[in-house]
């Protein structure tokens, strides 16, 4: 079959079977209008979304890392520095996450973990922090039904394994159990490092493990493991990935 003919046939078949009926436009508009009439009036105070300025965020992060470095190296310096660190990382702040194509405002809460050498903000409306011995773990604030696969983020440090090596090691582990394991990719967003995506099946509830591996700025790595399920990719997956962008390493360099 000629390429252009085939392209034209595909176009034609899709058009033929998706034609709206004559009355559908008005019927649907009436339904939309009824829903809109049930709503509160729109707020006039809201303005158009403004762009973020990554340079500002980078500069802010650099200053913060520097100050926290001082704190880690010189724990005796005292509360003045801690106060400055806290000033740079307010205990709470507003965030934004894109869910199924829509922006949603979130309330973020700070976790400073000098003993684990990182800082992160988490969406306290959606997650709660669980204390474990070697990990920092976040799980949904409201427990999910039993039939929903695990949704969580864990952060672990591997002080003696370089990021490349850890990524390779994790990929091998995932290949034993997961049907779809992607390539290790270099990433610059949401953070600098490596990412690895894997899924176990293609059903709505197939478990997904999404790994982010970041240098600890010394000779080791941080491993951030996001767990969710296929249908939750644009919901829980987005929320968790958004949190990854809030992760910052405390370095002693």
């Amino acid at each position: 079959m000629h390429k252009n003919d085939f392209d034209s046939d595909i176009r034609e078949s899709l058009h033929q079977y998706t034609t709206p009926t004559s009355h559908e436009k008005e019927v649907l508009w009436n339904r939309i209008e009824r829903s809109l009439n049930d709503e509160k009036p729109l707020s006039r105070k809201k303005s158009f979304r403004t762009k973020r300025y990554p340079i500002g965020r980078v500069a802010f992060g650099a200053v913060a890392v520097l100050l926290i470095s001082v704190l880690v190296l010189n724990p005796s310096i005292g509360y003045a520095i801690i106060d400055q660190v806290k000033a740079l990382f307010p205990a709470e702040k507003k965030g934004e996450v894109e869910l199924e194509g829509m922006k949603e405002s979130t309330d973020l809460k700070r976790v400073i973990a000098p003993e684990s050498e990182f800082v992160i903000y988490y969406d306290e409306g959606s997650f709660k922090r669980i204390e474990t011995e070697k990990q920092v773990k976040f799980v949904p604030a409201n427990p999910l039904p039993d039939y929903i696969p695990e949704v969580s983020m864990t952060i672990e440090q591997f002080p003696n394994i370089k990021p490349e090596e850890l990524a390779e090691r994790k990929q091998k582990e995932l290949l034993k159990d997961f049907t779809e394991v992607g390539e290790v990719k270099t990433m610059t967003t949401p953070i600098q490092g490596f990412s690895l995506f894997s899924a176990k099946g293609n059903q709505w509830d197939s478990p997904v493990v999404s790994l982010f591996i970041v240098s600890n700025e010394r000779s080791g790595s941080f491993l951030i493991t996001n767990r969710y399920f296929l249908e939750g990719t644009e919901g829980w997956g987005s929320r968790l990935e958004n949190m990854v962008g809030e992760f910052k390493v405390i370095t002693d360099k």
Partner: protein, 178 residues
């Protein structure tokens, strides 16, 4: 998209909203029918999409094109409804063959091709629908589905290849039974 319409909608102007709805209704419903394979579900997706557009127009970045924003909401809403139905284990009746909805002057020859398109996995089916039904560029498909441009190219290639193979198999079977 006319910025006056956008500003009007942000200010709650229902006429501006109807103007926008009229401009995009047909393409939106066609897309939703193709994705969901079900007219009732498609209507729900279109309804919810325009309600979201009305509620969230103030978040739309006017430095960007409106269509990708609208169709991204619609694609996500269609997929969300589709998954919701699958989750509840209700297989909806595929009503695309309902004679009422097929243009009378069209040849029925496209039925096999349409069924072949709809039998593809979503990974390749959605890029095919966006390209051939909506006339999206590969870049627009990538933006709408949040996948890399090269992935779009590869999935379109795979999709066309699979469709051709399916149609060739059908022809061979028909010839055998003739």
């Amino acid at each position: 998209m006319d910025s006056n319409i956008i500003i009007g909608i942000c200010n709650g102007d229902r006429d501006a909203m109807y103007e926008l709805y009229s401009a995009y209704f047909e393409r939106a419903l066609r897309l939703a029918i193709a994705i969901t394979r079900n007219r009732d579900m498609a209507q729900d997706a279109v309804q919810e999409t325009f309600i979201r557009v009305y509620r969230n127009m103030h978040t739309f970045d006017q430095t960007k094109r409106f269509e990708p924003w609208l169709y991204k909401i619609l694609v996500n809403e269609s997929r969300r409804l589709l998954k919701k139905e699958q989750r509840l284990f209700f297989w909806m009746r595929n009503d695309y063959k309902d004679a009422e909805h097929i243009q009378a002057d069209e040849s029925p020859d496209y039925e096999e091709l349409y069924e072949a398109i709809q039998s593809l996995s979503d990974k390749v089916r959605l890029p095919i629908i966006l390209k051939y039904l909506q006339g999206f560029s590969e870049k627009e498909i990538a933006d709408t589905l949040d996948i890399p441009l090269n992935t779009v190219k590869s999935r379109l290639f795979q999709g066309r290849k699979k469709l051709l193979k399916q149609l060739q198999d059908l022809e061979e079977r028909s010839a055998y039974h003739a």
